[in-house]
């Protein structure tokens, strides 16, 4: 999004095999940047854009890839995560795509990255000013599962007709005693638009609020872009008597001992054996590397996980 960053971007900086820098042609990037500017200007509003067919499948991050392609410059440092991890197959595939088409440096360290493309997580390490977090979004419309018609949901957003969303959350409470939405938990941005934060666990929702980083959302198949500019209010929907709360675990990370991070459960055998490890692999490794952190799991188990 930084204009100066893009001065480097031109067809001369072309990548191998006759493709333009970051795959998309400059006209397409311009179209994307216009949509992004509009999205930043109207936080949480879904901007339709002329989504292109990418060489990766729809549903596998084409929206995020197009957004990243539109904002990335040759001096950017890219991090790609899926489920919080840098080494999940789709994260590897997307990172390779950008290495091939842009030649930018990549990193696994959250603090070293200027652009982070993510699927389903926000890194545990707090983001800082100047960083861009690009989310891959499957279904951008938070009201979609209440109202399947696009014509209707657009009207509902225009009129701020969000009562149905609260009714849905209320019904959850009536049925289960809790709001039964554990991820893709709806938020209200800047006091105006109800927005789908993409399928991140609700654990990550508070990180969006007043984040110093720019948060961009791309939904390729649905052809929508939206954004949360830095330092914007992002409020998870709730009720006074049923306030929003995040997940917690009775466990610590079996590798780094973290108690404040989102934990993945790993099934270790068919006898009910379980390990809990940080979903954010960079966070976990940084903690292990830092002095003073002792693995709480038995050495044998830790060895197994790391191998």
């Amino acid at each position: 999004m930084n204009a100066d960053r893009h001065e480097h971007v031109s067809s001369e900086a072309a990548s191998p095999e006759g493709y333009n820098f970051a795959y998309l042609d400059e006209q397409t990037k311009r179209m994307l940047r216009r949509a992004l500017l509009k999205a930043v200007a109207v936080p949480g509003y879904q901007v339709p854009f002329g989504g292109r067919e990418m060489p990766l499948p729809y549903g596998w991050g084409t929206g995020g890839i197009q957004v990243t392609a539109a904002v990335i410059g040759s001096d950017d440092v890219l991090k790609v995560i899926d489920q919080g991890a840098d080494d999940t197959t789709n994260a590897v595939s997307i990172r390779r795509f950008f290495v091939t088409t842009t030649g930018v440096d990549t990193t696994e360290k959250t603090c070293d990255a200027t652009v982070i493309q993510t699927r389903h997580r926000i890194p545990e390490t707090p983001l800082s000013e100047g960083q861009i977090l690009v989310y891959q979004v499957p279904i951008p419309e938070p009201l979609r599962f209440i109202e399947p018609s696009e014509t209707e949901t657009r009207k509902m957003h225009a009129l701020q007709e969000y009562g149905v969303m609260h009714v849905k959350l209320y019904e959850d409470i009536a049925h289960f005693g809790h709001i039964a939405t554990a991820y893709a938990y709806p938020v209200k941005v800047n006091g105006r638009y109800v927005m789908d934060p993409s399928p991140i666990p609700k654990f990550d929702n508070p990180k969006m609020h007043q984040s110093p980083a720019l948060q961009l959302f791309g939904a390729g198949r649905e052809k929508r872009i939206y954004a949360v500019p830095p330092f914007t209010d992002v409020e998870s929907l709730d009720f006074e008597d049923y306030p929003f709360e995040i997940q917690s675990w009775d466990h610590h990370c079996d590798i780094c001992g973290a108690s404040e991070s989102f934990l993945d459960e790993v099934v270790t055998d068919d006898q009910g054996g379980r390990l809990f490890v940080c979903s954010d692999t960079d966070y976990c490794r940084t903690r292990v590397e830092a002095e003073g952190v002792q693995a709480v799991a038995s050495p044998a188990k830790t060895q197994e996980v790391l191998s």
Binding site: G50, Y58, A182, P201
Partner: protein, 384 residues
């Protein structure tokens, strides 16, 4: 240990190597050439061109080869290539009335000016496996014999300039005129689909749409889900000239021929106090020989015009958002297949919630409102 922690990179490389080997198959067999696919699997190539939205038999054949014959994968390959192509010019609308016809049939009149031309079709073959084709090096002599035994030099015989069947009805006012849309048609590969869509945009989406999906929808209209009384007014297949008008020249130049299949359906009539009853139309068009697709497209096109004729709209095939949002197989295949991607985090969130709910249930016994069995659906419907 499990892939998510380490090894994603290596796993991908190995998978690609294995794929390359599997695609080639047993190396004692000669490799298929792209030319062989183009010539001998023409209908596959035509489908890939139609749904891939690129008229290039060679690239389509290459895609079929690269995709090991998986046509959806081939369509995806061609689409991804198409994105990168520059738009050099916009052609003038092709005139299918001037088609060099290789096949042309009408189900509405016994004979029509220009005649019924059966062309090459599987329609009247008996579906008996031809074990002669099993024999290596297929009896070339047999093929040659068939060609020579026919009176007109068969294959390349085309009939030029057949008047269109529907125009004959039109001259009597029995059918609605095909209203020319004056404005430039949109391009849904450049502009996102906006509802309600105009007919040109709808047809564009249907032309790219999945043959199987459209066929099923078309079939549903025949079985009563949005019935529209169709007759196959005319189906024609053959070559038409493509022209562009370069600004520097100011007149049209012919840049080549493409093969098309066109279907014009005649559908139930409408009329009102102020308007004499008339038949209505449904339209289908695709690259190469794609009759099934063109017919299905024409039926669905007509269904989607229900609002225009103030018809009741209660069937899937009449619901524009339903049809257009789901007919593209690159989109649907991508989104369904993405369920293969890891969802550990979302699933973990659900697990945590479910354990909590179950714990509370046990603690409170029956005091707590019972967790309904649809718990999973309520919570997972947002999955992705």
């Amino acid at each position: 240990m499990y892939v998510a922690v380490k090894g994603g990179e290596k796993a991908i490389d190995h998978a690609h190597n294995l794929l390359a080997r599997r695609r080639r198959g047993d190396t004692r067999q000669a490799a298929l050439s792209v030319a062989q696919i183009r010539e001998q699997m023409k209908l596959a190539v035509d489908r890939v061109m139609t749904e891939g939205s690129v008229y290039d038999p060679e690239l389509a054949a290459l895609a079929v080869k690269q995709a090991s014959g998986d046509l959806m994968e081939a369509i995806f390959l061609l689409r991804a290539y198409r994105t990168t192509l520059p738009r050099l010019a916009v052609t003038s609308p092709v005139n299918t009335g001037d088609m060099l016809v290789q096949r042309r049939i009408s189900a509405t009149f016994k004979d029509v000016p220009g005649g019924q031309v059966l062309g090459s079709t599987y329609d009247y073959t008996h579906r008996l496996l031809d074990f002669k084709l099993l024999a290596e090096g297929e009896a070339e002599s047999d093929v040659a014999e068939r060609a020579s035994s026919e009176e007109p030099a068969a294959a390349d015989e085309s009939v030029a300039r057949c008047p269109r069947v529907l125009e004959m009805l039109n001259s009597e006012g029995l059918i609605e005129s095909a209203k020319p849309e004056n404005e430039q048609p949109g391009d849904l590969t450049r502009e996102p689909l906006d509802y309600p869509a105009d007919r040109a945009t709808r047809l564009q989406a249907l032309a790219r749409g999945d043959e199987g999906f459209l066929l099923a929808l078309a079939y549903s209209t025949q079985r009563g889900y949005g019935r529209n009384h169709p007759f196959a007014g005319e189906i024609r297949q053959g070559y038409v000239a493509v022209e562009i008008v370069p600004e520097e020249l100011g007149f049209a130049i012919d840049i080549g021929d493409i093969e098309l299949t066109e279907c014009e359906m005649i559908n139930q009539f409408v009329g009102s106090k102020d308007r004499a009853p008339q038949f209505t139309r449904g339209y289908g068009l695709g690259f190469g020989q794609c009759e099934r697709k063109a017919m299905a497209m024409a039926l669905v096109d007509r269904s989607l015009r229900a609002a225009e004729f103030d018809e009741e709209r209660d069937s899937p095939a009449q619901n524009e958002e339903f049809v257009l949002s789901h007919c593209d197989n690159v989109e649907s295949n991508g989104f369904v297949s993405h369920l293969k991607l890891p969802h550990y985090v979302d699933f973990q969130s659900e697990l945590e919630l479910l354990r909590k709910l179950r714990k509370e249930f046990e603690e409170h016994g029956s005091n707590r409102p019972a967790a309904k069995t649809n718990a999973a659906t309520t919570a997972t419907e947002v999955t992705s």
